[in-house]
């Protein structure tokens, strides 16, 4: 089977992970005008919590059920007691504090689990490969694509079909107008933060069996997430999906074409997109 097809599927899987890391960052930026440099650390901590639960209980499924909600709680606390004080501060203060928080998390992870990365075993059920004629592909990676696709659909439904989703979408246009309708925007901010941290933590947990948990995985994920947000358009759910998939596929295809340049190409892709559409693929004025 063609290498490019395999890389395409790999790219979709990676892209879905990128989407899950980025969507929270994008919506937080779009609604609160808040730059969260700690978002990559949520991804990191999600991976390590997953590792810790697997190490303690042996169950990846339990880890997947426990780690992301723990991250949601972490994100909620961080917003409520630290970051919410910075909403009216200039961006450079937000960057300073969230970067500090990211470092605290990263150092904390190294203190508890060491400076060397940890492997997380693939759950027994998903070990090995699926074979369809000449198509051979790891089961776990297929699971990641299916699971994240399902989750994305559920999120989309919640965003498009519920009152709370409508409030969130309204918030990306004007939080002042939302407040004028008697809606507590600060509660909305906390919830959004928790949701973003949940998704980033889940992304970390899902990646762990593929590339392990590594104390330095935060900054890389964060920079990719910023690229995705810029490509997709700030505050846009579908933009984050399109941007995540695009970057995943570009990176993955390039790794077989020109592996040294795979990481550069995501920035080239970003530059091309903003040349043509300065507000991103699905951004708006």
């Amino acid at each position: 089977m063609s290498l490019y097809l395999i890389q395409l599927i790999n790219g979709l899987g990676i892209g879905m992970i990128y989407f899950m890391i980025s969507v929270g960052l994008s919506i937080i930026f779009g609604t609160m005008n808040f730059v969260n440099f700690a978002h990559g650390a949520f991804y990191l901590l999600g991976a390590y919590l997953c590792y810790a639960v697997v190490a303690a209980t042996g169950s990846f499924w339990l880890a997947l059920a426990v780690a992301p909600p723990a991250m949601a709680l972490t994100g909620w606390f961080a917003e409520r007691y630290l970051l919410s004080r910075l909403y009216h501060a200039p961006h450079q203060y937000q960057i300073l504090v969230t970067l500090g928080l990211a470092l605290v998390i990263q150092e904390g992870v190294m203190l508890v689990w060491g400076a060397i990365g940890q492997n997380v075993a693939t759950p027994v059920l998903l070990q090995g490969v699926v074979v369809f004629g000449s198509f051979v592909y790891p089961k776990y990676r297929l699971f990641v694509i299916g699971f994240t696709a399902l989750l994305t659909f559920v999120l989309w439904l919640a965003l498009e079909r519920t009152r709370y989703g409508a409030i969130l979408r309204a918030g990306t246009e004007s939080t002042e107008m939302v407040a004028l309708l008697g809606i507590d925007i600060f509660r909305m901010f906390s919830f959004t933060f928790a949701l973003g941290a949940y998704l980033a933590g889940l992304a970390g947990g899902l990646t762990a069996p593929i590339s392990g948990a590594d104390p330095f995985m935060g900054p890389g994920a964060l920079s990719v997430a910023f690229v995705v947000v810029v490509i997709g358009g700030i505050g846009s759910f579908s933009g984050a999906l399109a941007g995540g998939l695009l970057i995943g596929v570009v990176q993955s295809e390039m790794s077989s074409l020109w592996s040294e340049g795979a990481n550069i190409m995501i920035y080239v892709a970003m530059a091309l997109v903003i040349l043509v559409r300065p507000r991103g693929l699905l951004g708006r004025a």
Binding site: R163, A166, A179, L180, L181
Partner: protein, 230 residues
């Protein structure tokens, strides 16, 4: 019902309101007139807490609301329809209404659709698909389903065709009929004289005139001095 008492509001260092006082009683329509830049919008923003006055107080139904958060002011029963209308462009007409709707409002969706047939026709359209007049109607309708006791309207007829202006006037009359008080900022003086029970004139952040409907009708000099364009 609403009592604004000597408020001073600022944008950063610029002092915009210099002790504005005004009152709106139950069931009244009160107009707030004044030239461009007089501070009318700032007064409304101060009432709803978007701008926080540094001095003075604002009482609503006997309790102080100056200094509390905007969403709490709205929950107390003051709805503000801003000049730019603030329709959520990505949301449908129905969603714009749904996120504002409160059960205890005397204006439900059915009352709104009866009074705004255009909105019913367009309820599945996005906010961005609406004309200026439709956006204004939606903005007022959305404020009404929010269950206000007092409605603040900032230049509701601005930029609208004369036929639509008449529709807006009818809507405001219907709002008054339903027992909701209105504070109206409006450049169209005919609309104001037609609707309002009392008038205030604001000039450079000071209230320089207040009078009843009849007083204002005969106060030609006042109108000339403070309201004619220069």
């Amino acid at each position: 019902m609403l009592r604004v008492d000597g408020i001073h509001s600022y944008y950063g260092k610029s002092h915009i309101l210099h002790g504005v006082s005004l009152e709106v009683n139950k069931g009244e329509v009160v107009s707030l007139l004044g030239r461009n830049g007089a501070g009318k919008t700032t007064t409304m923003k101060s009432i709803v807490g978007i701008v926080v006055p540094r001095e003075g107080s604002i009482l609503f139904d006997g309790t102080t609301i100056s200094g509390i958060e905007t969403h709490k002011v709205a929950q107390r029963g003051i709805a503000f329809v801003p000049e730019h209308r603030g329709i959520f462009q990505l949301l449908s007409v129905e969603e714009n209404l749904a996120i504002a709707a409160r059960r205890d409002s005397i204006w439900g969706l059915s009352e709104v659709f009866a009074n705004f047939p255009r909105l019913k026709e367009r309820r599945h359209n996005r906010g961005s698909d609406l004309s200026g007049g439709e956006q204004q109607m939606l903005a007022i309708a959305r404020a009404l389903v929010n269950g206000p006791k007092l409605l603040l309207l900032d230049e509701p007829t601005e930029g609208l065709a004369p036929v639509i202006v008449d529709e807006v006037v009818q809507v405001i009359a219907a709002v008054r009929q339903s027992g909701i008080a209105v504070l109206l900022v409006e450049q169209n003086i005919k609309v104001c004289m037609n609707l309002a029970d009392r008038h205030y004139i604001l000039e450079q952040g000071n209230i320089v005139y207040s009078g009843s409907r009849d007083e204002f009708c005969t106060a030609d000099q006042v109108r000339e001095r403070y309201l004619t364009l220069n």
